[in-house]
């Protein structure tokens, strides 16, 4: 197994862990944490391919990761604000109990 494949396997496992958490946990905050883990797994793939690619001087993979980190920060801020607003409305963050669209 080459080092690049090691990176790709770590990234795949991280993505699977994040997906499992985002799908199975009942708490909305942990679903958001799972999404963050999936985004980070994608970032690791970008960095690994940038480093082992034929032309690392172009820095394109690194640029994608920089923008991806900024978007993930905005996503986390908006997602957590939504969770706080939902908690204020329903008094719970359990995803199974949030069933109504209007009420």
């Amino acid at each position: 197994m080459t080092p690049l494949q090691g990176c790709l396997l770590v990234s795949a496992l991280l993505f699977a862990i994040g997906l499992a958490g985002a799908v199975t946990r009942r708490n909305a905050i942990l679903a958001l944490v799972g999404i963050e883990l999936m985004l980070n797994a994608a970032n690791l793939n970008f960095i690994a391919f940038w480093r082992y690619g034929p032309n690392p001087e172009a820095l394109s993979g690194m640029m994608v990761v920089i923008f991806s980190i900024a978007i993930a920060a905005a996503e986390a801020a908006v997602g957590l604000a939504l969770i706080i607003a939902i908690y204020r409305h329903y008094r719970t963050v359990n995803l199974d109990e949030i069933k109504n669209l209007k009420g």
């Binding site: 690049l4 770590v10 496992l13 991280l14 862990i17 199975t24 905050i29 640029m63």
Partner: protein
């Protein structure tokens, strides 16, 4: 694969699994910090210094603090004995295992993957800044606009309910409750001023 890579990867994956499986939400947030710091170490070991330190600043510094604040603000002591998993959790585990099998199979069986590291580039901050100001200037501006809009939106969404609201939120969420307060607020404040 070198020994440091294996150690960092094992620590990162165990911390991520702990962040997704522990019962106490504060423990989950702290495990997430360890996982994100491990990812930053992986970036550093791949010669991406700027991204590694940006990861530490943004994720370990800001996002983890946000998550801890959200955990503390939404703390409810109602159901401590409830199960932490949603009803269809087995299906979710199976789906993510299938996803991992597919990705891992693709990573292990792809032909033409580069096997050895090219000589380390020197992506100094100056190079990154040059690229951001020349080739990636439009994405940079769009990211700035997106961050501004997202943070203002986050503040508006998370504001208290009795604060004055925008028209869309009045119509969408709390028609009966917040409309009178919206009407009543300006007279009371102007009455106090006069």
């Amino acid at each position: 694969m070198s020994l440091p890579f294996i150690i960092i990867a094992v620590v990162t994956l165990f911390a991520a699994a702990a962040a997704m499986s522990l019962r106490n939400l504060v423990h989950c947030a702290l495990s997430l910090v360890v996982a994100l710091a491990g990812l930053a170490a992986l970036y550093l070991s791949l010669d991406a210094q700027f991204v590694g330190f940006a990861q530490i600043l943004v994720y370990v510094g800001a996002v983890a603090i946000l998550i801890v604040f959200a955990v503390l603000l939404t703390r409810s002591d109602a159901t401590p004995n409830q199960t932490i998993l949603a009803p269809g959790w087995l299906f979710g585990i199976v789906v993510s295992a299938v996803v991992f099998a597919t990705l891992g199979w693709a990573a292990l069986n792809s032909a033409g993957l580069p096997t050895e590291m090219p000589p380390a580039p020197v992506p100094t901050v100056k190079n990154i800044g040059d690229l951001l100001m020349t080739q990636y200037i439009l994405p940079l501006e769009v990211i700035g606009l997106l961050l501004t809009a997202a943070l203002i939106g986050a503040v508006i969404i998370a504001m208290r309910e009795d604060a004055p609201k925008t028209k869309m939120e009045d119509g969408g969420l709390k028609m009966e409750k917040s409309a009178p307060s919206f009407i009543l607020h300006p007279p009371s404040s102007s009455g106090g001023a006069s």
